[in-house]
């Protein structure tokens, strides 16, 4: 009984006209996502270097000074001050002026020269867990390396003394990080940013767009026409879906140009995945609009959904780091699958063969949410 294609086209034309007539809207839809990507890409740089470090060298021997110098030379640690006593060094940490304190005890050089056991203390401020982990691993790597070198020197000295070679088994670890060898975080972030911005643009604007028509009364005028709810919803959503694709294109380009996102996977797959994800984000927008009377309610409703979706998507913190009870909940979060899909496609270069399960989940989510939204919307007419 609907008016089919002519109605759908009329809604789309109207929607595009209204959107592009409003300059601020164009800015929100196209410029903002791109600018945000750049800003987020730089601001959420999780790379850790130059950790502020305080040194407490109570030995003051040539050996201890050399140790400190080499420890700082790697670039992970940056000297911010010196402390006379370990208690002073701790105060630096308490005040937050340093995140790492390196403590070298008196007699360290002496003991090493004498071939005795000696220990070094490193205090690490754990309040920023990511930084603490990096500091910890850099310190471990450094001192394990130093220890190996010291025993090697001792061994060579013994060999020279005894005039024969002493075979000592040695095991070295050679870690190699795949796909993101420099552990650069923008690479890790860009797919998440894409997922979030699409959510922002499509869910928020769909929810608010429909709520606006309800609030202003234009929906009532539409509902006395034979225009079918399907044509109305499709006509309202398609322009936003199209803008979403443009945003993703811009985002991928920025990622490639500014942040070295490798773009290994096929581009068509990126767009296909985006389209499937959009079913969900648009459907949620429609669902939210059916429970909102005003634009303000729609906005709050959208935020109420978007914030947990964002936090539980593995956007910035890996899901594996979340508390155990929380992790299963992330399987209910469509955004999680899209973030994983985009990482797989852009960074690991996975193709359809590896990524289809995620696409399938997104498709199921999308069709259910969209169907539910359309159904609820239809019911609200009566």
């Amino acid at each position: 009984m609907g008016t089919g294609l002519s109605g759908l086209m009329a809604v789309m034309r109207k929607e595009l006209r209204q959107t592009f007539r409003d300059r601020r809207m164009v800015a929100i839809l196209i410029m903002a996502p791109l600018i945000q990507t750049v800003v987020l890409g730089y601001a959420v740089d999780l790379d850790v270097d130059a950790v502020p470090t305080v040194v407490c060298d109570r030995d003051q021997s040539p050996a201890s000074r050399a140790l400190v110098q080499e420890y700082l030379a790697g670039g992970t640690f940056r000297l911010v001050g010196r402390a006379a006593e370990p208690a002073d060094a701790e105060r630096w940490l308490d005040r937050g002026d340093a995140a790492v304190a390196l403590i070298l005890e008196r007699g360290l050089g002496e003991r090493l020269r004498a071939g005795q056991a000696a220990s070094v203390q490193v205090f690490i401020d754990g309040s920023d867990s990511n930084r603490a982990l990096v500091a910890m691993s850099a310190s471990t790597q450094f001192f394990v390396g130093r220890a190996a070198r010291l025993s090697q020197e001792r061994l060579s000295w013994l060999e020279r003394l005894q005039g024969r070679s002493l075979a000592v088994p040695r095991l070295t670890l050679e870690p190699r990080i795949m796909y993101n060898p420099r552990l650069s975080s923008p690479r890790y972030m860009v797919p998440g940013v894409a997922a979030f911005l699409l959510l922002l643009v499509t869910t928020l604007l769909t929810a608010m767009g429909i709520a606006r028509e309800r609030e202003l009364g234009t929906l009532e005028q539409i509902l006395v026409t034979p225009l079918s709810p399907m044509a109305l919803l499709t006509g309202k959503c398609l322009p936003f879906a199209f803008l979403g694709l443009i945003d993703v294109a811009g985002l991928v380009a920025i990622g490639a140009l500014l942040f070295d996102v490798p773009m290994r996977g096929p581009l068509w797959l990126v767009f296909a995945g985006t389209l499937v994800y959009l079913l969900t984000t648009l459907g949620i927008g429609i669902l939210i609009s059916t429970v909102s009377r005003t634009q303000q309610q729609a906005m709050l409703g959208a935020l109420f959904f978007m914030l947990p979706a964002l936090l539980l998507s593995g956007f910035a913190t890996p899901i594996g780091n979340m508390p155990g009870w929380l992790q299963p909940i992330t399987y209910l979060n469509p955004m999680r699958y899209f973030v994983e899909f985009m990482r797989g496609c852009l960074i690991r270069g996975s193709g359809l063969a590896e990524l289809w399960p995620k696409l399938l989940v997104l498709l199921v989510f999308g069709l259910s949410v969209l169907g539910l939204g359309a159904l609820r919307f239809r019911k609200r007419l009566a």
């Binding site: 009364g217 539409i222 006395v224």
Partner: protein, 311 residues
């Protein structure tokens, strides 16, 4: 009852939670009629219209519009009706022409037919010169005429107009009513709500709503005859003088105060202005015979309704 009825309502009731907005309303509207729905704010006029347009489901009762049961097939009703809601509900950020283009598309008009019909209607409602202006910049009267044009795009047989002239200046009201009459002359049935009693005089028949009930239904003259038998006088008294001297006179039916003035209704033939002056003495500043208007009818109906509601 003369020509066919295009709207037939029987026992219509609509509840919102425990509140009954429309209660047991029954009436019918004939083809080509201008049917006025009168009542104070909250009387249930808009709720009735929304049910008739298929926007709200009735809680009880039946409503047939253009021969179709609106509760059973609201979609089928939509092609035969045009609706102007109480709140202006075209897009303020589109031009007049774009609004018509959108709603024409929603009604499934083809592009060419739409362009022609749009031009024709814009000329008819006097908006041809301003068709490219953003609707939000048009004055109120023009917006209402544009909304009427949008409601008529698909040549509906029935027009539902919910307070189309509220908040519009008197000249714009007149031009709007000229459009309503023009449509009626072409055979369109017009169902219009208002709380402006002077406009109601233009209607062929009037239904009076109070507190969700239809209290009276007749032509304007019929309503006056049945609710206001006798003669009406307009009285003005000097300040501080009481009208009590009249109240006890036999043949006095009702005295309504309207500010410093009074409207007096008496049995026909028992009083004339001279007699009233004599009765009131020096208190009378002005005494004249007047024709009853629908305002008087309305007050009478509401008073009677309240009297019934008390026991």
């Amino acid at each position: 009852m003369g020509p066919e009825a295009v709207i037939e309502v029987a026992g219509l009731t609509r509840r919102f939670g425990s509140f009954t907005a429309v209660q047991q309303v029954s009436f019918s509207v004939r083809a080509g009629e201008i049917f006025g729905f009168l009542g104070a704010n909250g009387a249930g006029k808009s709720t009735t219209i929304r049910i008739l347009c298929g926007l709200l489901a009735p809680s009880e009762g039946h409503a047939c519009v253009a021969g179709i049961d609106v509760a059973r097939d609201p979609e089928a009703v939509k092609r035969s009706i045009g609706y102007m809601s109480q709140k202006f509900s075209l897009y303020l950020d589109l031009t007049a022409e774009e609004n018509l283009e959108f709603f024409g598309g929603a009604y499934g008009l083809g592009r060419r037919a739409l362009r022609q019909r749009g031009r024709e209607l814009l000329a008819r409602v006097g908006l041809r010169e301003r068709s490219a202006e953003i609707t939000g910049r048009l004055p109120g009267g023009m917006r209402q005429r544009l909304a009427l044009a949008a409601a008529m795009l698909h040549r509906p047989r029935i027009l539902f107009l919910d307070e189309p002239t509220s908040g519009v200046d008197p000249r714009a009201r007149q031009s709007f009513w000229a459009l309503i009459r023009e449509a009626a002359r072409e055979g369109v049935t017009v169902f219009v709500t208002t709380h402006a009693m002077d406009e109601a005089e233009f209607c062929d028949r009037i239904g009076l709503m109070a507190d969700g009930r239809l209290r009276a239904l007749d032509t304007p003259d019929g309503l006056k005859r049945s609710f206001l038998p006798g003669e009406m006088f307009h009285l003005e008294l000097s300040p501080d003088r009481s009208i009590d001297a009249l109240a006890s006179q036999p043949g006095v039916l009702r005295i309504e105060s309207a500010g410093a003035a009074y409207r007096l209704r008496v049995e026909a033939g028992r009083f004339d202005p001279e007699k009233l002056r004599a009765l009131l003495g020096p208190a009378a500043v002005r005494v004249e015979r007047v024709e009853p208007d629908l305002e008087d009818v309305f007050l009478e109906v509401v008073t009677q309704a309240r009297g019934e509601a008390v026991p």
